[in-house]
Amino acid sequence: MFLTIDTRDSRPIYQQVVDGIKEVIARGDLKEGANLPPVRQLAADLGVNLNTIATAYRELQKDGLIAVKHGSGSVVASRTATERDEGELLRPLRTALTQLVLAGLPSSKILDIVVRELRLVTKGSQ
């Protein structure tokens, strides 16, 4: 259950934190109702600015992935609360697929990649 921060990554640190926590939740390492480290603690542990983690948590809350409970920190929200428009969910997938097609990869290879990545992302949540 790791959070990775890469300084070569073009994404800002808060976005890497958001994506990292999303991955951990998707894999089932953080289950529904599990506590997330408090903003202050995670910022101190990771050695980043308090606002970086606060922004990341706000983003996760906006996406319905975590719920902020006053006095007891943030917890992983139930999946039913994260129901979103299918079109909205498909958009990033379509963008990624477009990039793979434009990179010249054949459909079978792309399908392999998608299946492999899906297995990686959901590892442990089955």
């Binding site: 259950m1 790791f2 959070l3 890469d6 300084t7 640190i13 101190a44 542990d45 990771l46 308090l50």
Partner: protein, 354 residues
């Protein structure tokens, strides 16, 4: 054997043993990784032939400073005859040695960085942080905790009964000062345990597993050491009612037996701790030290040696002059409150004593 002699012997055994071991260990620390390293700085091959020798000597001299201070104060105490102050000296110097070591290592490493291999000074691009939750109870033995709690409550209940049985004949400080001090120190150990359990920093992504394994083993060793100290603390607390109630004719025999057992147990535990420490060290030496990237944006450089930066809630912040204690950190605040409480408690005990 008088009370004073008891304190003197305890001081010489406990403090003397710890100092010799500490000096030996810290003396070796800079060169443990071999001649191409100074602590965790990968230095040029000719480092120790040139400036490195001077830096190493400076580190070792500064490392000995608290011991020199202790020797001066201890000598003054021995000449003044106020042997009770040796107990406070032991605690004070232990804190000073650790604080001095942190700043000393940092200062020496900063000097050595000027002679570091250039590529080794580049921060690693990628770090990982374990999100695995850790709780104090996961690292606690319920039977041990129960035993400590039961002994503590029983001793204080006995002391209250003893004092109230004949308050006009018993001095309150004589009965309660040492147990209260020991109780406060017991809470201090718990606080330290909490810090050790909660301590979490990123590790380089390359070799992350090795780094985390070494860190976990080190954590377990520190926690075990804390628990041993807590048991010693509660043993001293348990012996106090016996000391108060025993007949004067048997005190000499009792103290000698107690000191003998203390010495024997200390030797066994010290040997155990050295073995474990070497195992943990072997694991740590397998990991390659790496400079971590600075992930703090737009944060002003902290003042040295203490600062207050709520936007960067780390316990320590690295500035141009080295590490700075961040008073905006909750642990720093709790630690400061604890030390203030310790100071007040000791001042009260001193005042009542005279």
């Amino acid at each position: 054997m008088s009370n004073d002699l008891f304190i003197v012997v305890a001081y010489l055994v406990v403090s003397g043993g710890a100092r010799i071991r500490g000096i030996f260990r810290r003396w070796q620390q800079p060169v443990l990784r071999g001649p191409e390293w100074f602590f965790n700085v990968h230095v040029r091959p000719d480092f120790y032939a040139g400036q490195g020798h001077k830096i190493l000597r400076g580190y070792r001299m500064r490392m000995l400073m608290p011991v020199a201070i202790e020797l001066i104060i201890a000598t003054a105490i021995f000449f003044s005859g106020h042997f009770q102050n040796l107990a406070y000296l032991m605690v004070g110097i232990a804190v000073l040695i650790h604080v001095n070591h942190v700043f000393n290592v940092d200062a020496a490493e900063r000097k050595a960085r000027s002679f570091a291999v250039a590529e080794a000074e580049e921060p690693v691009p990628s770090v990982v942080l374990s999100l695995k939750s850790r709780r104090l109870r996961d690292y606690s033995n319920p039977k041990l905790e129960l035993a400590i709690a039961v002994v503590t409550v029983a001793v204080f209940a006995w002391l209250v009964r003893y004092y109230l049985g004949s308050p006009e004949h018993h001095n309150f400080r004589m009965v309660f000062a040492l147990p209260l001090f020991l109780l406060y120190v017991q809470f201090g150990y718990l606080f330290v345990k909490q810090i050790v359990v909660a301590w979490r920093t990123p590790v380089p992504q390359a070799g992350a597993e090795e780094h985390l394994k070494a860190r976990e083993e080190r954590r377990k060793l520190y926690l075990k050491t804390c628990d041993i100290s807590r048991v010693s603390n509660v043993a001293a607390l348990l012996i106090w009612p016996v000391f108060l109630s025993i007949s004067p004719t048997k005190i000499k025999f009792f103290l000698e037996a107690w000191l003998g057992s203390l010495l024997a147990v200390s030797v066994v535990l010290t040997i155990w701790q050295e073995i474990r420490r070497k195992q943990v060290l072997a694991l740590a030496l397998r990991t390659r030290p790496a400079k971590l990237p600075d992930l703090l944006d737009d944060t002003p450089a902290p003042n040295w040696p203490v600062c207050y930066q709520p936007s960067a809630p780390m316990l320590v912040l690295k500035g141009t002059r080295g590490y700075s204690l961040n008073l905006a950190n909750t642990l720093a605040q709790m630690g400061a409150a604890y030390l203030a409480g310790l100071g007040i408690l000791m001042a009260v005990l001193f005042r009542t004593a005279h």
